[in-house]
Subunit: 137 residues, 2 copies
DNA sequence: ATGCCTGCAAAGCTTTTGCAGATGC
DNA sequence: GCATCTGCAAAAGCTTTGCAGGCAT
């Protein structure tokens, strides 16, 4: 992710924006709340206001750079847009998030919508899961 | 839904609780927000506090009488538990909610979770749809 | 009678907004 | 230099909680 990706979206390449992009691409796929990002910035010595984090994330979402999820009902988490569509499973014990994609499910969704006289615009699928019990025990 | 269903859940059969159940079962499947229910009560002349509506709905949810959904991220809607599992599609133009069930999708979800070493505990699937354009136009 | 319930008001939380100063281009 | 952007503080909107009085059993 580069400054020019921001300009392309009509956004100036400011420190808060670049830092938030960096944090979102650290390590594997990140699913972070605004508060998470705010704290990571603070821990790194960047004094970015929480309001700015929210504003920037909203702008990124509108620009299509970031996707907003509501795995829990009381706050949103944000993920860098990869271009590859996928859904998520969330472990109810550890909170771990796993991404997956399944063409059959995607197709069935379109079929079901069509059967009811609708076109599918978007969808949200979250699997809440628990680790399988260990078979050796 | 009867007073004894409430007692079975350890809840006294009070007027607010009975009225809220009544409202939830009026007409077809209802997907109402706390505010919706609060206003319907007020319109019917029942002075039930909004806090009570929230408290009662939370109790009903814990008792398994009601299901909470988060179709929109900024408020919850509640639905009487019918015993028949189903998912939902929401029309992005009218807000209309349609229920549907599909065994293939259910099965695929369990398979995908299993493939990743998890058991499926629960899931949330919402289709956001738009009416098909009229073919005669 | 007593313990559960309710209404009201206040508080909690995430998220948004107003505004004056700061910064990118 | 000028428009955009940011930090701070305040506000907003949904939801929860504390408390004193009220109701079901």
């Amino acid at each position: 992710m580069e400054p020019r990706d921001l300009r392309k979206a009509g956004l100036k390449a400011t420190t808060p924006r670049l830092r938030i992009l960096e944090i979102l691409q650290e390590g594997g796929p990140q699913h972070l709340s605004a508060e998470d990002i705010y704290r990571r910035l603070a821990d790194a010595g960047d004094d970015v206001g929480l309001a700015t984090v929210y504003r920037v994330l909203t702008q990124f979402e509108q620009a299509g750079l970031v996707t907003r999820h509501n795995f829990a009902s009381d706050h949103s988490v944000f993920e860098l847009e990869s271009g590859r569509h996928h859904d998520h499973m969330v472990c109810v014990e550890t909170g771990r998030v796993v991404e997956f994609a399944n063409d059959d499910i995607e197709r069935l969704q379109r079929e079901i919508a069509g059967r009811h006289g609708y076109d599918l615009v978007d969808h949200s699928l979250v699997l809440y899961v628990r680790p399988k019990p260990n078979p050796t025990s």
